[in-house]
Amino acid sequence: MLLELRGVISGYGNLDILHGVDMEVDNGEIVCIIGPNGAGKSTVLKTIFGLLKPKGGTIFFAGEQIKGIDPHRLIRKGISFVPQDKNVFLSLTVEENLAMGAYTRPNMVEKGKELVFSRFPSLYDRRDIRACYLSGGERKLLAIGIALMLEPSLLLLDEPSMGLSPKYKKALFDKITEINQGGIPILIVEQNAYKALKISHRGYVLDMGKNKFQGESGELLVNSQIKKLYLGG
């Protein structure tokens, strides 16, 4: 198992959001986390990435306990995180943003840029432009590009489709599928539960900071209870 969470308790300060969450991601998979607002979906990702320190439970990555380790060390172990918003450096150019994605491994900058530009050719055309002048869709691609710079062995995506028009959403989900087919396992949090289950292999439904349902995405999609509660009938 690549990533394994057992009984993780975490939150902000004294406020616990997760009350013992279990989760697994295996090599090659896209795994989605869905659930209502405030269920703790983003908290799971921030806790794995060390931005929040868990109070209980265990987190194993590639067989190693990573609970409470700082982000800069997790990056070196192969985990990349794309935050939900404010996920690019607005005053830096596209190229500089990408270079910062490889900050911890400066010798990977050139190779990483090549990789990202081949995957997102539209960014190559805009490489000298400051991120604040990119469209919303391009900015999302840049955010993911930053995370791909070090060819991570696990990509954490927090609500990537948020704020995008339907046309851009479809293109973005196609890109995510492509990245996964290129060999990178992805753990994705999405408010668009239907779409998330469509592109993923397995899914977890979180509610009130606890596991509610889990299983193959195809099965979850046709589960009548999930349909009623989370997929709008």
Partner: protein, 290 residues
């Protein structure tokens, strides 16, 4: 015509020292989110350390180099002893600002203990002015202007073409994202203090060479630098450079119409106008939506 040329020369000389001081102030604000009141004292110490080193018979270039190093050391020590512990306690900008006023008073008192309250001048060979498009300028002043230009050029090259320089801009832009990509915050903050203290020291030394030294000189220059960074958008380095020049030139040009004791009011009139008409400053930019 020669009056205008002279005002331009004087304006550029004053403006370039304001710009040097303002750049450090705006960089510290951009990353640590507070106005460092003790920044003016680093300017003052730059001048006084040079004075002390010259008085023990060291040559001017050596005195200046050592003075800059000493000021950098003082800057780093104030961070380690005062600002870093406050940051670790998640102190807000107001607490940091007030702490920096405290640091400023302590440094000023220590300097007064060492050098007294009298106005001092650096013991330099007398400078003979040369004619330049009808303006009179000394060789020292020409060297000053080139020093400032070279220092600025080096800074911009450092920030744009090195890994740590880019990381510094990235941290100033988006601290949370800097953490997400693994930028080492402690290292960035150390580089920040080195640059900002060195620039303050150079500013102080130039003022010392051009005019004189007073224990209270830090506050005077700090207030001008504050106006400069507000004009150029707080946190924006290019803005601080332009803001400093705008103030230096305009307060000199005001001399055409106003007696010299109103010089300082000019800087603040411009600052207030900028705040009223373009509150985000000349270089403030709005994020594209959508």
């Amino acid at each position: 015509m020669s009056l205008v040329a002279q005002l331009i020369v004087n304006g550029i000389i004053a403006g370039s020292t304001y710009a040097l001081v303002a750049i450090g102030l705006t960089m510290v604000f951009g990353i640590l989110h507070f106005i460092n009141f003790s920044h003016g004292e680093l300017v003052m110490l730059g001048a006084y350390f040079t004075l002390a080193l010259i008085s023990i018979e060291l040559s001017l270039p050596i005195s200046i180099s050592i003075a800059i190093l000493l000021v950098v050391l003082v800057g780093l020590i104030t961070d380690i002893m005062v600002f870093k512990p406050l940051r670790n306690q998640k102190a807000d900008s107001l607490s940091l600002l007030i702490a920096s006023i405290g640091v400023s008073i302590v440094l000023q008192s220590l300097a007064q203990l060492c050098w007294g309250r009298d106005i001092k001048v650096l013991d330099l060979p007398p400078a003979t002015p040369i004619e330049f498009f009808g303006a009179s300028i000394t060789l020292v002043q020409i060297v000053m202007i080139f020093t400032v230009a070279a220092t600025m050029f080096l800074l911009f090259a450092y920030l744009n073409f090195t890994r740590i320089g880019t990381a510094l801009r990235a941290t100033s832009d988006n601290e949370e994202m800097a953490r997400v990509v693994g930028i080492d915050n402690d290292r960035v903050i150390m580089v920040l203090w080195i640059i900002s203290s060195a620039f303050a020291a150079i500013g102080g030394i130039l003022i010392g060479i051009n005019t004189n030294l007073q224990i209270g000189m830090g506050l005077l220059i700090l207030i001008k630098a504050l106006a400069a960074i507000i004009i150029g958008s707080v946190g924006n380095i290019r803005g601080a450079l332009i803001g400093g020049m705008v103030i230096g030139l305009s307060e000199n040009f005001a001399l055409i119409a106003l007696p010299s004791q109103y010089k300082d009011a000019v800087a603040f009139t411009i600052m207030i106008l900028v705040l009223l008409l373009k509150p985000e400053g000349i270089f403030g930019y709005k994020e594209r939506v959508g």
